[in-house]
């Protein structure tokens, strides 16, 4: 090269200088566990399906969702969404309306006729599921997906369990329930109705490789209450079941419901729809202690349900209920005060909890029963080899979502057990807690509130109370997701690196160029969603 005066070296680029050697920490892309996923009893990858929803890829979003939960249109209506309680966005403005997006996807799937695709080869293994409630259906789906042959036996006239016979139609329209059940039937799952399984042992002897008990808790608890001969006392489970069967019981104009759970509120709201102009819920503790979900309480109060806190029913006579007022002692337990009051009531509905009908395991000594529920190990297997149980029949929170989670866990455990293995859980990644986020980068946007039917109109019929999102509002709501702990392709790392040491790949992915990364950590600090971790370099 012909060089000018005093120049002795050729022109070089600084690219020859690999500044990566300065580094003592390196950025690593990570997937942390979003709080919504962490809180979901059904184990949904909420952030994962919202990610597709953000791009309006609704079918892919739905397919990601149903990897874990085959009943999104149902759960989008009746789940008490612990995901939203855990949502980090609540600390920015308001939690993401995950439940409403789930419902939108579920409804969209029904509308578009999306079906499940079984990719696993048939195993030839036969599994019997006793009960077609949420845990039974979920287990059936997950087992069928793994190539097993599944039969469900249901004692009632139609499938759905408590979703049909416990949850009123105004919360879960029956055509939605039917649509999601038939999609599971379309996978080749056999559902036999009016087919009560009397003995689990006998069922095992029929040649099933495994049996899953998903029998729920359908017996209303009774309490001894002094009552006159003509007093009308019913239990909430029967009231809801009869109503679901189209043969609602006569309740009269004034109804008292005794209990503080969701079933009590469902019974009271159902009573209103059946014509009672007054429905009073009597509960012996305070609102704070009430087990019913606050959303249900709010909707019940909106409909004119009257709450009598700190009261017990002490006597029932024709047309009259005597309640005793309670007072909290210093430990916070309700104690009788000796102060009584009469309420007019044509009937009294007891909603004091439900018990499991254990007749199916009668005589099976190896199975432990404690507090009226079936004991299972961590793989949901009972003391009898090959007999598994889940849902309301085993210890745990009694919600449909939890039951769906049990169904999935049981399916995985049964599948592993059939192969002579034990199911091993993937390691749970570190939680993407709020302090891992850089919320500066998110603009404020309040939640899309699902419109509600006018409360007065609602109380008089069984039409659905909460209306869904349309495509436009669903994508808006999905895009409120902060994508906690998981990259959403915002280009921040690519932009903020002073050394151009981040490579942008296709599809919103990135890679660190370790030849030049000096390890300053700006990318990790400015990552909105906490998806970059700084790790010490080993020398």
């Amino acid at each position: 090269m012909d060089k000018p005066f005093a120049i002795t070296l050729n022109i070089g680029s600084s690219l020859a200088n690999h500044t990566g050697s300065w580094r003592n920490e390196r950025p690593v892309y990570v997937n942390r566990l979003p709080p919504c996923n962490d809180a979901c009893p059904a184990g949904e990858d909420v952030q994962g399906w919202l990610y597709e929803g953000e791009a309006a890829n609704y079918e892919q979003a739905w397919r990601n969702l149903v990897r874990d939960n085959p009943l999104p249109a149902i759960m989008g209506r009746i789940c008490y969404h612990p995901c939203q309680t855990a949502c980090n966005r609540a600390q920015v403005d308001e939690a993401v309306g995950i439940n409403s997006v789930e419902r939108f996807l579920g409804d969209e799937a029904i509308k578009q006729g999306w079906q499940f695709k079984i990719t696993a080869p048939a195993t030839g293994k036969k599994i019997l599921i006793v009960g077609s409630g949420p845990s039974g259906l979920s287990a059936a789906y997950h087992l069928a997906m793994r190539g097993h042959t599944v039969t469900i036996r249901e004692s009632a006239a139609a499938a759905g369990g408590m979703m049909r016979y416990g949850i009123p139609a105004y919360r879960l329209p029956r055509e939605v329930l039917d649509a999601e059940i038939s999609r599971i039937v379309n996978m080749g799952v056999t559902i036999e109705c009016n087919a009560k399984v009397e003995s689990a042992e006998a069922a095992l002897a029929e040649g099933f490789d495994a049996v899953f008990l998903a029998i729920g808790a359908h017996l209303g608890k009774r309490a001894f209450i002094p009552a006159g001969d003509t007093a009308r006392i019913l239990d909430a489970v029967s009231v809801l079941h009869m109503t679901a069967d189209g043969q609602p019981p006569m309740l009269g104009r004034r109804v008292v419901v005794y209990g503080g759970g969701n079933t009590a509120l469902d019974a009271a709201r159902t009573a209103r729809r059946l014509g009672a102009y007054e429905a009073i819920v009597v509960y012996r503790r305070t609102q704070e202690k009430m087990p019913a979900h606050e959303i249900e309480l709010k909707e019940a109060l909106d409909e004119g349900i009257i709450m009598r806190w700190l009261s017990t029913v002490s006597r029932v006579d024709e047309g009259k209920v005597t309640i005793e007022k309670m007072a909290l002692d210093e430990k916070g337990f309700p104690q009788p005060t000796g102060e009584f009051e009469d309420l007019d009531a044509d009937s009294v509905i007891l909603a004091l909890g439900q018990e499991v009908d254990l007749s199916v395991i009668e005589g099976m000594k190896e199975i432990k029963v404690e507090d009226g529920v079936i004991e299972v190990d961590e793989y949901l297997m009972t003391g009898r080899i090959g007999l598994f149980a889940g849902g309301d029949a085993v210890p745990g929170e009694r919600t449909a979502t939890n039951a769906i989670g049990h169904g999935k866990q049981a399916a995985r455990a049964i599948d592993s057990w059939l192969q002579g293995e034990k199911f091993v859980h993937a390691l749970r990644p570190e939680l993407a807690s709020f302090d891992k986020l850089n919320t500066w980068y998110y603009s404020d946007a309040p939640k899309t509130v699902r419109p509600k039917l006018d409360a007065a109109r609602r109380a008089s019929n069984f039409s659905e109370v909460v209306q869904g999102l349309d495509a436009e509002t669903a994508v808006f709501e999905a895009r409120r997701c902060l994508s906690c702990g998981n990259c959403f392709g915002c280009d921040n790392c690519f932009g903020v690196c002073p050394d151009n040491a981040v490579i942008k790949l296709e599809g919103g992915k990135y890679e660190i160029n370790l030849d030049y990364c000096k390890g300053c950590g700006i990318c990790a600090n400015e990552c909105p969603c906490g998806a970059i971790d700084m790790e010490l370099e080993r020398s």
């Binding site: 070296l9 050729n10 022109i11 070089g12 680029s13 600084s14 690219l15 020859a16 200088n17 690999h18 500044t19 300065w22 953000e54 791009a55 500066w440 980068y441 998110y442 603009s443 404020d444 946007a445 436009e472 509002t473 808006f476 895009r479 409120r480 902060l482 959403f488 392709g489 915002c490 280009d491 921040n492 690519f494 932009g495 903020v496 690196c497 002073p498 050394d499 151009n500 040491a501 942008k504 599809g507 919103g508 160029n513 030849d515 030049y516 000096k518 390890g519 300053c520 950590g521 700006i522 990790a524 600090n525 400015e526 909105p528 700084m534």
Partner: protein
């Protein structure tokens, strides 16, 4: 729907988003950006100036179809990018002396005009030392003559390249190697200061703006806007310096953000000597939050602190907030603070 949809991604503060349309992308989110200052440069870890220079020059390159000549004053930016015979610059780049960048840029601009190449635009750039102190005479002359140059000052508030000495842009109370944290008034004095954006405005030049490396969208917009004017333009960018400020390398952008959000560094635009636009504070913070992570202000905190210094610095921020109307109805205020909204 009648309400405008506000997505956290679209129009948010992040560099880009996988869901954005091509025309909505920031320059820095494009895989094909110029990378005017490329990898392998010798700036410290977390250098704000390296980042600011790439942001600004890439935006200018995009705005002019790649027709930019850059003239550099002496300083970190020159030293860390061009150790003989290597260069990190991917555009025509000249360096002459510490104090004459504006004069050289004037000459380049005149030469291009003489050759009829007015589509090629000239940028002069330097640190705060080369701009507000050593190069101030030529710069003022460039303004006064209204030469067709965009001058960009990367302000890290001291002479960092030579070992952190105080400059005319060093803020009050800051510790540097020539303003030690000793005596009754530790750190740099509470003098009149030298507010170069305002001095530039006083020249009545077509365009003056301030920006920080914390708001990329704002910075890119201002560079692109500056390229729509002919004549002298001045852009003053706050670029935190982990070495000189005694801050952690990963905090560079965060500190720039806090400088703006505390009101200590007002972000605004001015045309022909009049302020036309200010960037309101989004989440107002007390100056403590900005000062505390910086070791150059460590003496403001702790048992031996001089509380009146902190009060005086807060007063500067409050004056800026009032003067530039930095707090509006959308500003989130700290729980215990009452500020009149402009």
């Amino acid at each position: 729907m009648s309400t405008p949809l506000k997505f956290y991604q679209v129009g948010s503060f992040a560099v880009g988003n996988r869901l954005l349309a091509e025309e909505q992308l920031s320059e820095q989110s494009r895989p094909g950006r110029t990378n005017s200052l490329t990898s392998g440069h010798r700036a410290c870890q977390g250098c704000g100036e390296a980042l600011g220079a790439r942001y600004a020059l890439d935006a200018a390159m995009a705005a002019t179809d790649g027709k930019i000549v850059a003239v550099n004053a002496t300083g970190c930016l020159e030293v860390f990018s061009t150790p003989y015979p290597e260069t990190s610059w991917r555009l025509p780049w000249l360096h002459s002396l510490f104090g004459n960048a504006a004069a050289v840029a004037t000459g380049v601009s005149a030469a291009l005009r003489a050759q009829g190449k007015t589509d090629i635009r000239v940028i002069a750039q330097g640190g705060d030392g080369g701009t507000v102190d050593i190069g101030f005479g030529p710069l003022s002359g460039m303004f006064e003559r209204n030469d067709d140059v965009l001058y960009i000052c990367y302000d890290n508030e001291a002479y960092m390249n030579t070992g952190v000495q105080r400059s005319g842009a060093t803020p009050p109370a800051a510790r540097t190697n020539t303003t030690h944290a000793v005596g009754a008034n530790p750190g740099a004095s509470f003098s009149q200061g030298k507010n170069l954006p305002v001095i530039a405005m006083a020249h009545g030049i077509p365009y003056v703006a301030t920006a920080t490396v914390a708001d990329l969208h704002d910075l890119e917009e201002k560079v692109k806007k500056a390229m729509t004017f002919r004549g002298a333009r001045y852009l003053h960018i706050l670029v935190p310096c982990p070495l000189g400020w005694g801050s952690r390398s990963e905090e560079t952008i965060q500190l720039a953000r806090l400088a703006k959000e505390s009101g200590l560094f007002p972000v605004f635009e001015a045309e022909y000597g009049e302020v036309t636009e200010t960037k309101p504070i989004r989440r107002l913070v007390k100056v403590d939050e900005y000062l505390k992570p910086q070791k150059r202000f460590a003496h403001l905190f702790g048992p031996k602190a001089h509380p009146e210094q902190l009060i005086a610095i807060q007063a500067i921020a409050d004056r800026n907030i009032a003067k530039y109307k930095l707090v509006n109805e959308a500003t989130q205020l700290p729980a215990d603070q009452e500020v009149s909204r402009g």
